[in-house]
Symmetry: C2
């Protein structure tokens, strides 16, 4: 019984990326597009960076005739398993692996970005002119881009590149646990400028997400989107609001809380890695659970302060202290995350964190060490280094100017 | 060069209690009374429940002639070690162990309570009429007293019993780690009614700490103190304010933050034990770090809500989300605390938590199970059980009405 003006079109969803976390998110999304056929097209496109894989011979899951290397997209579409990046997890059959990113996003209204941040620039270029102008994005890429002069969010970078609005998803989300449908929570931030299908394109005065750059003038961050003309979603689609995104991502084993604070959600996923290094330092020193908890508490407060200071009123303290993307993600990272483990090993062995990274990580890079360095130079430009004694202690320990034993004294100055 | 009205007297400190945590706090306090001789009398009295101990024969620390059982106070005063409750830790020589609680508190202006809560009533009775009427207390006893009709803080109970004001100390404080001078933090709440030595005894209108009992009427909690006549500290003592208590308790390895929120500090130390049971449940179920972090996040929010709902405006959310007594203590309890461990074992073995308590704890009792039960009956009286889905899930799992697998669904209802 369609009434005048009721949605007649369905949202088409594409997941851009198919690693461990990308495949897990595609699984979640595809379960929901199937569960809500009145809102979404059932098939979910998943862009896969094409490569050749050889199937394990002894597995009952695969065709005995499958000999020699095969294309990863072919394998995913035939066996519904990402054998390379998420092995032994059955993917929904409505995930369609696609080696062409341009073809994968065709006619999609919802683009979910879940790929290593190094690829954002290239992919955005490839997609230019190929996406629906009124599409919306969600970035599942953790972290932020920090230089000495500015901080930009990956979601902004994507949004700017494509001329669309892009929100962010982040939480205490170890992909393998979620793929096994072990319960977890996440936070999605989505707060587009106030236009809808019935309203005109917003003026820049409606855009209020700001950072304070070194020169002291406020800069319009969401302006990156307003430079292009943000297009309203046609009225024949269901509105792209908090309720819709919750419907797309929430599962019985993956609980979603929606917020407006895109900057807070994104910063949490970056700054926690600095804190995790500090937690590893004190644990490696043998100081036990009291000290680890103290590091997390002090780190959480510096995260809040950083968000408030450089992203102004758009950041809520509660995003850090109450949401999965804040305190919960911090706790998992300080419990068994890679930054924590490497920092702990470094202290136990009496070597540098860089040394541990080289010997233990198989060529992979630690996020925390580069974030600590970038955040430090960002703070130096602003003359604000001393207001963040824990962040400063971490870079000073990494670079040999302090030792772990100095931490209590260094952070105490903040309370003095 | 004394000026007119400058303090001429020093504070005398007594620690009431000498267990593991009591002896550790006495060590801290005695280090500071020695470090600040212009404010404190150097000697710190420590009340010790007298018992007989036998010294280990093979230790070089003890006199070879020390044969047979000796009095614990004698041993502490001779060897400066609490061989029974804090072995192998050198105590400062200015701790004076005293078997008479009445004698130990004589002329003391600062009473630090650190003993099992079961003894509060008896000790208060014994002390009646023997303390300085203008003394002040700090309770290091974790938890609160909950019945179906009301919640009272241990600090209030002590304050009421003795007719003095009593604050509270709580944090992520595993005593053995602190005794070894491994770095940790704590929170001290101290917010006496607004009198000082130059002001008259306050009227009850100045007393604003309230709880909302079942009948909906606000009840004056701090009124327990105002029932007696709270006596002002004479002007010849240094004022007993935040700065003074920080001086008394802060050490390079034990960092103190002072707050006003006595109820928040006390509630944190009690409610965290319910959350730790839930963390043990999901960990025992094999759900991993995401789920554990989710439990802590949800639990922290229920702690804040509980404080706000039943202790009104006197409770600050930040006491839970930003202080050692809140988020940090919660993290340590959910990492390796006794409630966490027993709940985890119960799920792994498929037996009840009570069963694990019996077989694993050597007759000691779990705080979490009784707090879960008491808080539940308190909430039932108020018809508020459903507003605390995690607290409810814990008691329902303990009593067999739900299983761990129900947790995600039960807590999701709060966000629906």
């Amino acid at each position: 019984m369609a009434t005048l003006g009721a949605p007649t079109k369905k949202h088409k969803v594409t997941v851009v990326g198919s690693g461990n976390w990308g495949s897990t998110i595609a699984k979640i999304v595809a379960e929901n597009t199937k569960a809500y056929p009145e809102i979404f097209e059932e098939d979910v496109q998943m862009w896969v960076y094409e490569e050749e894989v050889t199937l394990p011979k002894d597995s009952k899951n695969f065709d005995a005739s499958a000999d020699g290397p095969q294309k990863l997209t072919t394998v995913i579409n035939k066996y519904h398993e990402n054998v390379k990046y998420l092995p032994n997890i059955a993917l929904p059959k409505n995930i369609i692996a696609n080696p062409s990113v341009v073809d994968a996003v065709k006619d999609s209204t919802i683009l979910v970005f879940n790929l290593p941040h190094q690829f954002i620039g290239r992919i955005s270029k490839q997609l230019e002119g190929h996406i629906l102008p009124f599409a919306r994005g969600i970035s599942c890429i953790k972290g932020v881009n920090v230089t000495s002069s500015e901080i930009s969010l990956f979601s902004e970078w994507i949004g700017e590149g494509l001329g669309i609005y892009c929100g962010a998803l982040s939480g205490a989300n170890i992909a393998n646990e979620i793929a096994l449908e072990k319960w977890s929570e996440t936070t999605i931030a989505y707060d587009p400028p106030a236009i809808d299908s019935r309203a005109p394109t917003p003026s820049s005065s409606q855009i209020n997400l700001t950072i304070t750059p070194a020169d002291g003038e406020h800069k319009d961050v969401r302006g990156r989107i307003s430079k292009t003309e943000l297009k309203a979603l046609p009225a024949d689609y269901p509105p792209l609001d908090h309720a819709l995104f919750k419907t797309l991502f929430h599962r019985p084993y993956f609980h979603v809380r929606m917020v407006d604070d895109v900057a807070g959600v994104s910063l949490g996923g970056a700054l926690k890695n600095i804190v995790a290094l500090a937690a590893g330092f004190v644990d490696g020193r043998g100081w036990g659970d009291n000290a680890k908890a103290a590091i997390m508490r002090v780190g959480l407060l510096e995260m809040v302060k950083f968000g408030k200071e450089f992203f102004g009123h758009s950041v809520r303290a509660g995003t850090f202290t109450e949401e999965s993307c804040g305190v919960a993600d911090l706790i998992t990272s300080c419990s068994g995350g890679r930054n924590f483990k490497c920092a702990k090993l470094a202290i136990e062995r009496g070597v540098s964190v860089d040394e541990v990274e080289k010997t233990e990580l198989n060529g992979q890079k630690l996020q925390g060490t580069s974030t600590a360095k970038e955040v430090n130079s960002f703070l130096e430009t602003r003359g604000a280094v001393d207001e963040y004694p824990l962040f400063k202690a971490v870079i000073d320990i990494l670079e040999g100017r302090n030792t772990v034993d100095d931490i209590p004294d260094l952070v105490a100055r903040a309370d003095a």
